[in-house]
């Protein structure tokens, strides 16, 4: 299995993403995750279940993106780093007792878990 640096952005992993069919957005594909990891943009990576929809069967370079996500998490833990989303959730939990912050009646907010 290869690391994220081997991702050639071919997009063949789009066929492995059931979430892409629902959302239509590349952020949920392995290619999308690879771009974000390479750029060090980890907010949405940190909260993705590594086994959820990122298991890739058609990657020509055999990038194991779920393993890459795990590695990134480990690095963040080792270095005491946290994402903005994580910080915000902790603050909200402390201030409002829930991870979302102030919610209007009936409001639903996006959360990555």
């Amino acid at each position: 299995m290869a690391g994220v640096d081997k991702c050639i952005l071919c997009g063949l992993c789009r066929q492995d993403s059931s979430l892409l069919k629902l959302t239509g957005k590349e952020t949920v594909t392995a290619r999308g995750k690879a771009v974000l990891i390479k750029k060090g943009i980890l907010d949405k990576i940190f909260y993705i279940d590594p086994m959820n929809d990122v298991t890739v069967r058609h990657c020509p370079t055999n990038v194991e993106i779920s393993e890459e996500i795990r590695k990134q998490r480990e690095k963040m833990v080792e270095h005491g780093m946290e994402t903005k989303a994580n910080r915000r959730m902790i603050d909200n939990l402390r201030d409002y007792g829930n991870p979302y912050g102030i919610l209007k009646k009936g409001e639903i907010r996006e959360v990555y878990s």
């Binding site: 050639i8 789009r14 020509p60 370079t61």
Partner: protein
């Protein structure tokens, strides 16, 4: 730029100027990095039209995107609005000999839906590539020898031109790489599904024998696909060190008739690039080389230890390279042999030299009439 205006038009969930989306949509299969200003996931023609009018008014570039698998940078934006067609993926009508689709329909999904009918332009990445993208670059596919290119199968396209005008066109706009307008509906000719197929798997020691066989198959209409795997590529992917030809026939002319065996061979062929890419041959080129010079080109590749494969029956090969540094060397060899660059994946950013100045001037003239402000796919092709 007014984000609220876009949110009203397409809904909050279908527009983003967040860094995560801008990063992901700043590149495509070419790995060239551009800059996306916003990403918009369109769902109907009205939205596409309004976005084009807005962009024209504000002189804001637009880059259309299907699956983003293009290998020459055709979907790379430069400070542009990326208009993603993934969600415009409805098959609107299936007739006896035609189908009407939105541009975001994936090629394999179309063929699944067609059941006993068949859309015969099937690129290697048919599991992900969209009909809109295929129209954009005038794609061909594994059966291109028999069925040609998208141009041969497009009956009509609905287009929002760069001027904002909405018009129907024939196949003359196929291959315009997003320079003239955005496709919103495509009517395609379809044919009957191929029921009876057979295959030959041929091995050669000498390049001359291989090329002679390719020449002999040139006028054989039953041979719908003539694919090659070079000796260098074969060795790298763990096959016996020979030159291979995989010939697919309509009918029973081929010696292999067992469907499981044929599927096994097709899978080997499909995995060639994957296996080469995993050994760092990550760049796939697409030169056309006339059959009479093919042997010389194959010898040249072999001498340089460059693995190659591809639809040799269409006089196209895919030399696979480890870095862009070697591309110019291949281009030079192709030009010397009266070949042509960018014969399959389009022109985009990387194959501009494949068009001569006369062709570019004609395209510029056409662009001015379709896209007078010059907002569509800026920096590409011309």
């Amino acid at each position: 730029m007014d984000l609220t205006w876009f949110e009203k038009l397409v809904g909050k969930e279908n527009i983003s100027d967040e860094i995560i989306d801008r990063e992901i949509y700043s590149t495509d299969g070419s790995q060239i990095k551009g800059r996306a200003d916003k990403v918009i996931w369109v769902t109907d023609v009205k939205q596409v039209h309004q976005i084009v009018l807005y962009a024209r008014r504000h002189e804001k570039p637009i880059t259309a995107r299907g699956a983003g698998t293009n290998l020459v940078g055709a979907a790379v934006p430069f400070d542009a609005l990326v208009v993603d067609f993934t969600k415009m993926n409805k098959i609107e009508a299936i007739g006896k000999d035609y189908v009407v689709v939105q541009p975001g329909v994936v090629c394999d999904d179309l063929n699944k839906a067609l059941k006993e009918k068949f859309f015969p332009i099937v690129p290697e990445d048919s599991a992900v590539c969209t009909i809109g993208g295929m129209c954009g670059i005038n794609s061909t596919g594994i059966y291109g020898k028999r069925f040609g290119r998208m141009k041969n199968w497009v009956l009509e396209v609905d287009m929002v031109e760069g001027s904002g005008r909405m018009r129907k066109h024939g196949s003359e706009v196929v291959g315009s790489e997003g320079l003239l307008g955005l496709f919103t509906k495509i009517k395609l000719r379809i044919t009957d599904r191929i029921v009876e197929k057979s295959m030959d798997l041929l091995k050669f020691d000498k390049i001359e024998d291989l090329v002679e066989k390719v020449s002999s198959l040139k006028n054989n209409k039953e041979a719908i696909s003539v694919e090659h795997i070079s000796k260098v590529a074969a060795e790298l992917i763990g096959l016996e060190k020979k030159h291979y030809l995989i010939v697919e026939y309509i009918g029973l002319e081929g010696s292999i008739k067992d469907h499981i065996e044929m599927e096994r061979i097709v899978n080997v062929r499909k995995q060639v690039f994957s296996k080469l890419a995993s050994q760092d041959f990550i760049l796939m080129e697409d030169p056309y080389v006339p059959t009479e010079n093919m042997a010389e080109f194959l010898y040249w590749l072999e001498g340089k230890s460059i693995p190659c494969f591809g639809p040799i029956g269409m006089e196209i090969l895919h030399p696979c390279l480890t870095s862009r540094e070697h591309v110019s060397e291949v281009n030079e060899a192709v030009s010397k042999l009266n070949g042509k660059l960018g014969s399959k994946f389009g022109v985009g950013l990387l194959k501009k030299e494949s068009l001569n100045e006369v062709e570019k001037a004609e395209l510029r003239k056409l662009k001015i009439s379709f896209d007078p402000v010059g907002i569509l796919n800026v920096g590409k092709v011309i």
